[in-house]
Symmetry: C2
Subunit: 322 residues, 2 copies
DNA sequence: TCAAAAGTGTTATCCTTACACCCATGT
DNA sequence: ACATGGGTGTAAGGATAACACTTTTGA
């Protein structure tokens, strides 16, 4: 077996917060114009665990004290962490999802908040099917699916056409909001993500000029972001994680708007309210908010007791009219 | 920030298969009498990805060609990978779950199949509440909960008593079959897992003599196994992963018995059959099996098409009479 | 007065759960 | 005959999804 040399572990955090009712992530803007997630190497001599390393590192860089933190996945692909020369150590990156309540103060590294749909615009169906899907992505994916897939090393249980059907709801299939990562990875594999070109993938030769399909990111950070979005969309439905993004008190409408922003589609108002209340997720504070644009709304707070109650509670909900 | 030195990435696989209707895992028996999961270091020069590294490594050691493989979690705790002296590199371990259909041939390393409930006996409720819980674990956990928890570094959202209630169904709460990892970690933290003593944890001083609470494992492998069991119990309910453990054709009774063995409790027969059939998970092969001890049973096979259909299909099922 | 959002009420449908019962085979 | 597991039918209950409608505020 070959040598074991020069491994470094990178900790990346997709730190999600809400500003103006929209989900944002904390990014740093690099010199080459590509955004990056907050990133730091794991230093085992300083940090007892990976989680502690991540927290310490984010604190040092941005002053943020992270609350909810969840490990997502560990990626080890050579070639997706490359930048030009690539003579450094092999980097294995551990992705994290963190949820915060407030706007972070801009840290020394110049971190700032950016809308997360800027990176994955095809994931936002709140205003109907995104034009970028119909106009740009689908036609190209169809061409890609028509080619044989001998060249790629993918477990060939499914054909390209079947994968398109499942991931991108082609041929009348339903759009599965949780398949964010699968979609991004497919776009990368098809050479439609700008990162594929940067990494020197073969499939890119097939395309002449490509519009920008979502803002690209440094290293494999867009993949980490996609993983974070997948996880959050899934977890929302069976754990009360959404409240890690909200202030202490909020109206049901605010809650709904944020859930919709995370899921990327509209929900049915009346049923949403009833489900949330019946599930015992919230309790009224007694106050009302008059900033609603309409009738004043009761303010609610998260009932922390639910963490001690039923094993699974979340905001499970199918789609509905806007 | 401190130095970055001597990191090694270990790949561990909890390889699950079925023998005699019971789930087993592939283990190697080490010199000191403690079992270990198949383990190998990640060699980035040889392997393009972590998954490929794991597959190659398992192939070399056991001759097994893994099918279904899923990354579980990456653990970086110093002190839980220690063995006596501990002067080696810091080891970050990436845990995997793999499912196989057939008994493996014993590999050169002397790997063998062991019942997975041997390591986590409190997880098997198929014959009622396990005696080891009532007789050994619960009384000790109550004593542990009565002590203050100043010494441990745990995010103190919950008290020890609340954690017991949630993880171990104390005070009338329901047993959540998916909390396998949380339970094992709590036992470790309380010093009730033999690994805690090996790792030199403080809490151990509190106990005089402890019976063996499940077979311990080398390094943090029992934690990886617990993670695997948690994941499998959860995933079963929304993805058709169970069929990765079954031969091409099987009776519904065999299917049910294996699901029960994974979940650790009995299911309601009639409803199980209907749910599985209604969900379109299986189709009859046309043959029957006469090895049933009763009326011959129709043989079924997994309908691979479901992978192309509804976004979530699995064997979701609440408990029922035995 | 109107737009915007807060709220209430009702109903159809599906899924889960539970119970009752008959069928075919080997010993 | 009887034990064992295979297999079918049906009904109660709860959760979801889809409607329609009223109320209260600010502009």
């Amino acid at each position: 077996m070959g040598g074991q040399s020069g491994i470094e572990i990178g900790l990346n955090a997709a730190i999600v917060g809400v500003r103006d009712g929209q989900p944002h992530i904390l990014v740093t803007r690099e010199g080459n114009g590509w955004d990056a997630l907050p990133y730091g190497p794991f230093a085992p001599l300083d940090h007892r665990t990976l989680d502690i390393g991540l927290r310490n590192w984010v604190r040092e860089q941005t002053g943020l004290e992270l609350g909810y933190v969840e490990q997502l996945y560990t990626f080890g692909d050579r070639g997706r962490h490359a930048q030009r020369g690539d003579t450094g150590p092999h980097i294995v990156s551990v992705g994290y999802l963190a949820l915060i309540t407030e706007d972070p103060a801009a840290g020394p590294g110049g971190a700032s908040f950016a809308r997360w749909f800027g990176y994955l615009p095809w994931e936002d169906w709140r205003h109907g099917k995104p034009a970028i899907l119909t106009d740009e992505i689908e036609p190209r994916l169809k061409r890609w699916a028509a080619r044989p897939d001998q060249d790629d090393t993918h477990d060939l249980v499914l054909t390209r056409r079947e994968r398109l059907r499942i991931c991108f709801a082609m041929e009348g299939a339903d759009w599965d909001e949780e398949k964010v990562l699968e979609r991004y990875e497919l776009l990368y594999e098809a050479g439609l993500a700008a990162e594929a070109k940067r990494d020197g993938r073969e499939a890119v030769k097939f395309w002449d000029k490509l519009p920008q399909l979502g803002r690209p990111m440094q290293f494999d950070h867009r993949r980490v972001l996609a993983t974070a979005m997948s996880r959050l969309r899934g977890k929302l439905k069976y754990r009360p994680v959404i409240f890690e993004l909200l202030p202490d008190s909020f109206t049901l409408f605010e809650l709904q708007k944020i859930v919709e922003a995370i899921l990327g589609h509209h929900l049915h108002k009346q049923n949403f309210r009833r489900l949330v209340e019946n599930a015992g997720l919230v309790e009224p504070t007694g106050d009302v908010s008059r900033q609603t644009g309409g009738r004043p709304a009761k303010l609610f707070r998260f009932r922390r007791d639910v963490l001690l109650e039923r094993p699974s509670t979340g905001v499970r909900m199918k789609g509905g009219p806007g």
